[in-house]
């Protein structure tokens, strides 16, 4: 297990080196900090998406659901559209990015707890939970669509701008804050890796082993919401709600992590999922931006790959 983590780390280092050096022209003093900032953002998003997916799967005791399948991303787009709707496109564009970030994050936390806290209490009933998640997603997307039609087309373009995953034009001002929050969440999660192992056994087993499951899953849900908010604030939702694709990136990372790590120990799975997500993102970015000179297709390609993994998981494994 530890050896495989080492191989992953080596792969990640290789990918990062490629990203930092390929196609670099001109002054290294400029290139390295410039690319370094983008790299930090990519890795932050990767860790946030990887960890939030693994933890979400642990709380729900299954390996197919992800926060974005359950509608977390739809919630984010809904909040964005709601903001533009209430304060106008100009007001929205003129918002202090830090203020915007903290407002969006707190709204995400409150809304996620209210919506999903109740759903998770019945986490044993998987089909009901998936259904509820789908319905919440559809409901939020419809409301978003309604608001989008009510506002001015110019303002709508502001929403659209904010609602696509863009790995090429990230908000570098927020990167450090986001990286800090993500690192904090990661350390916090690693500190309770043993409790996460027990929670993955399911609600009743965890309770009989002394876990305060309600409180513990509420806290974890807060961390998941925080990580999703961080990732979406940096690059936009990993699922593009306007074209209706699901957010499969996290699923891709978690599924490969479980396969590669071949263990249920969160001490291994959490770093593995983070590194696999980082390798995928950084490699994709290197390939598309540097080698193929394409600007926007990274998220599309990752989503397509993730979608295939999702189909594979659903068809191959017994749904659990």
């Amino acid at each position: 297990m530890v050896k495989r983590i080492g191989i992953l780390a080596a792969l990640l280092a290789l990918t990062i080196t490629a990203y930092m050096t390929i196609g670099a022209r001109g002054n290294w003093d400029f290139v390295l900090p410039f690319r370094g900032a983008k790299l930090l953002a990519l890795v932050t998003v990767a860790v946030a998406v990887g960890c939030s997916t693994v933890v979400f799967q642990t709380i729900t005791a299954n390996r197919i659901l992800t926060p974005s399948i359950m509608g977390f991303d739809a919630l984010y787009v809904f909040l964005q559209t709601g903001l533009v709707f209430s304060i106008g496109g100009l007001g929205y564009a003129g918002l202090n990015p830090y203020l915007k970030f903290s407002v969006e994050t707190s709204l995400m936390l409150v809304a996620a707890l209210a919506l999903f806290g109740a759903v998770l209490r019945n986490a044993a009933d998987l089909s009901r939970m998936i259904l509820t998640g789908l319905i919440i997603g559809i409901f939020l997307r419809s409301l978003t669509g309604l608001m989008a039609r009510l506002i001015d087309p110019n303002e709508y373009s502001v929403v659209q701008q904010a609602s696509f995953a863009r790995f090429d034009a990230m908000n570098t001002e927020l990167t450090w804050i986001a990286a800090g929050i993500t690192a904090g969440c990661f350390v916090w999660l690693m500190a309770r890796r043993w409790r996460l192992n027990v929670i993955a056994l399911g609600r009743e087993t965890a309770m009989s082993l002394g876990i305060d499951h309600d409180r513990e899953s509420r806290r974890l849900l807060v961390v998941v919401s925080l990580l999703v908010s961080v990732a979406t604030a940096l690059v936009g939702p990993s699922s593009n709600s306007f074209s209706g694709t699901g957010g499969f990136f996290g699923l891709l990372a978690a599924a490969i992590a479980y396969r590669v790590a071949a263990t249920w120990h969160h001490a291994i799975v959490l770093p593995a999922a983070s590194m696999i997500a980082a390798i995928t993102l950084v490699f994709g970015q290197t390939l598309f931006e540097r080698l193929l000179q394409l600007q926007t297709s990274v998220s599309v390609a990752i989503e397509a790959l993730g979608g295939l993994v999702f189909l594979f998981l659903v068809l191959r494994r017994r749904t659990r």
Partner: protein, 250 residues
């Protein structure tokens, strides 16, 4: 000693348990019996704090269990439910080791490994140690789950239909383990369907019907033709053979 006083449990609008005053003495094996839908599993789950209750109290040696911390309670009570689904792909030994979690709250130490070995040996799981749970038969999995509850090493052991899917030999083994645990001064409660097993191996019987306490008492007094026929509302005979009571249904 566990007592429930006026314990009522509702699921949705349906009353499952209605003001039950049952007691489970220390140092003996108590069998929880009754027809389907009597509320046996619900009573066990409520005593094991897996279900919230509407009214009443559960007392462990006189102290309300509702006031205990989660970990504190898990150090005192182990509960095995029916058909608990385990999502991760675990090996048998991993599952049994999880029974030590309330004690370790982290990495298991050498003493924990020893207790796990012992629990696995008692359930004859040594050869299955590194098998994945999903490759086991129902009975083997049941034994692994019982071993996990044993590894928890608690004063109270609550097992919901532990003999489910077990062959006669292992069923007898589990009943002997229950007796050994009781002899160590523990409180052992089992939900049982086989009344002959209850008659032979249990010391105390708590009988439920329709969410109410029907009767409770020592096994001698409870396993009788009259009592069981009224409990199950069906003709049941209790005969004596070789000093043991055997329950016959027609």
């Amino acid at each position: 000693m566990i007592e429930t006083s006026d314990l009522s449990v509702k699921i949705g609008e349906t009353t499952i348990l209605n003001a039950v005053n049952a007691s489970f003495p220390t140092g003996v094996v108590t069998a929880l019996v009754g027809p389907n839908g009597a509320g046996k599993s619900t009573l066990l789950a409520a005593v094991g704090r897996l279900l919230p209750w509407e009214r009443g109290e559960v007392l462990l040696d006189g102290a309300p269990v509702a006031d205990m911390g989660h970990r504190e309670f898990a150090l005192k009570t182990a509960i095995l439910r029916q058909d608990q689904h385990i999502a991760p792909r675990l090996r048998v030994r991993d599952l049994v080791t999880f029974g030590r979690f309330p004690h370790t709250w982290g990495r298991p130490g050498r003493e924990d490994e020893r207790i796990v070995d012992e629990a696995m040996a008692r359930l004859e799981l040594e050869t299955l140690s590194s098998r994945f749970l999903d490759t086991l038969s129902g009975g083997q999995r049941q034994r692994a789950r019982i071993a996990m509850a044993l590894a928890q090493a608690t004063d109270v052991l609550l097992l919901d239909e532990p003999l489910n899917a077990l062959d006669v030999n292992h069923a007898r083994g589990v009943m002997h383990i229950a007796k050994e645990e009781a002899a160590k001064g523990r409180t052992v409660v089992l939900v049982l369907h086989d009344l002959s097993v209850a008659a032979v191996h249990a010391d105390h019987i708590v009988a439920l019907r329709n969410g109410n306490l029907f009767a409770q008492g020592p096994v001698r007094q409870m396993i009788s033709t009259d009592m069981l026929s009224r409990l199950y509302e069906a003709p049941i005979d209790v005969i004596e053979y070789d000093g043991r009571r055997i329950v016959l249904t027609h």
